[in-house]
Symmetry: C3
Subunit: 263 residues, 3 copies
Amino acid sequence: MAAQAGPLVDLSIDNDGIAILTMNRPPVNSLNLELLEEIGKSLDEVAKNKTKSMILTSSSPSVFSAGLDIMEMYKPDLKRAEIFWTTLQDVWIKLFGSSYITAAAINGHAPAGGCLLSMSCEYRVMVEGKYTIGLNETALGIVAPTWFMDTMCHTIPIRQAEYALTTARMFTVDEALQVGLIDESASDKADAIDKCKKFIRKFDKIPSLARAVTKQKIREGPLVRLQKNRQQDTAEFLGFLKNPKIQQSLEMYIQSLKQKAAK
Amino acid sequence: MAAQAGPLVDLSIDNDGIAILTMNRPPVNSLNLELLEEIGKSLDEVAKNKTKSMILTSSSPSVFSAGLDIMEMYKPDLKRAEIFWTTLQDVWIKLFGSSYITAAAINGHAPAGGCLLSMSCEYRVMVEGKYTIGLNETALGIVAPTWFMDTMCHTIPIRQAEYALTTARMFTVDEALQVGLIDESASDKADAIDKCKKFIRKFDKIPSLARAVTKQKIREGPLVRLQKNRQQDTAEFLGFLKNPKIQQSLEMYIQSLKQKAAK
Amino acid sequence: MAAQAGPLVDLSIDNDGIAILTMNRPPVNSLNLELLEEIGKSLDEVAKNKTKSMILTSSSPSVFSAGLDIMEMYKPDLKRAEIFWTTLQDVWIKLFGSSYITAAAINGHAPAGGCLLSMSCEYRVMVEGKYTIGLNETALGIVAPTWFMDTMCHTIPIRQAEYALTTARMFTVDEALQVGLIDESASDKADAIDKCKKFIRKFDKIPSLARAVTKQKIREGPLVRLQKNRQQDTAEFLGFLKNPKIQQSLEMYIQSLKQKAAK
């Protein structure tokens, strides 16, 4: 792991009163237990301070978030793995079901868990370039849980979601725009944040209680589904980790990453 | 209120045997209890006479329907408010779940409840011009109930519905066409009705029992959901009316309408 | 019935290890009990041999499958009709819920049950020409059961599905492409099979367990719904067959087919 420079998450309130939540776990914002805990705390803080809106982004110049930290899944301590998973569930429930306005300034690659976090926001602006976004879990031999799928089906048509999920499809910015996986593209991070703010300003004259309840109502299906099946969902994840085939897939993937890094 | 000229609803059968249901509560077909009751009775009549099809339109030159009459919600008599709401539920169940063919000739603005009525039909033709359509409840501080949302999600993708519902988006005719909120545009009311008839004629050779059951089956989800939650839905509406914040939003909205009218 | 040349189904494994399941009941692959039983057995064989993938196609030069054999429904032996229907349910559950990769090379017309079989696959390539595809049950006075509708809504937007189902819409190849009912068009059968193989090759590097579970998870809703309501679904079908109006519709349809054939 790279040495950690500063806190794992930076939460600031900008001049417009908008909370900017910047993930900061170099090099690629891999979502390990500690980063997820810090994201969760920041979401609590935004909610507690009744900040009207939040933009989620990354401190990395090229990666929004690489997704779940594979080291939390490879040869895991099952006790920690369970806390890891329930923390991820918590973060999603807080973010997908938040009462405040949420937007993602996707300033780099957003595979798997990175894609999930951005899809859990209400609006997505992605920086142009070679970056890609998608739920590519199957490429690693992992099955995206039901609530990952539900979140994707809340964003793009189910036919597109099935194709993307099974083929581990990573969308280019243009492809993501076309299918509706993102809402806008931007020239750079500053432009992405500006466009997120423009989205947030659409709500200036909308009474915030009605807006929040409306959002939570239309998102109720996936939220209630996870809340009802939380224990089973956790059990499935842990069962998956115990599967030798899965561990083998993860090992092969880690080897391929090491070979890439060595080049 | 403007003086009422003639009955609140005109129901006629045209030469093709198609029922034309014209809302006629000047100036803007605000849906108050009495108008909803008359619409409900007309829908019953169409069903009873086994008329094959119905076109819903407005006698106003510029408004299809302005939606629920805000005066039914502002400082309400709760007894009347309850009847108002259950009557609205009845109208929707009759229209959305009707066995006969339904089309809306949207000859003017169709915000909120006006949009709901048109979306509950099977086909929508809207007259070109400055008219707009959408579920803009949040702008008034109101939350569209689940069955309004379900009706919209039956018409346009859920991602588009969430964006539209939270931002109180009013679609222009072109925007509505593009997203699928309407099926066709028309040059004027006569053209809109002609296009509705063209849609209706598509069923000339389709056995009507199979057509009706097919329609009701694919609409079963939203229908059953309201039928199961009717009492709770009514309680939510009444609870909402009792909320001082909601009453304040309504008051501000009424003031803004008065100021507009005074100009 | 035309004399049967060879077995009702041809199942072969090609050089790439892909199973090719060819329906072969001349002249139009009407799905009668025997053909459905043979398809079911072939699907079992593909699953048992752990073949990675399967392409479904037809031996006819112009028809993929004409759908359910109307002679199974017209003046039926109810005992046989029940076995017919449960066999169709079985085929759908095996195909829609299969763990192996599935693609349809639609080399001709695909109305009703023919459309259902192709939609139950994960990918559809259709040969250009005058061929059409759709769930046109209502034209025959029949109601497509809920799981036919669910399968269509898994493929195209619900608004499009309602319109298509009620109007008995048959899509041209171009229309099917545009709405997403098929994924690609092809110049002929060989080209269609090539394009199916190209789709299948997308999974070469995807661990197959994760792919299979992902597919089955996103298809869980419709699968569980039929499994829960199987008996009721069968009872509905049998009740439908007993309806004199339905029998009359079927008779009229059979007459029109005879008239066409006589020209």
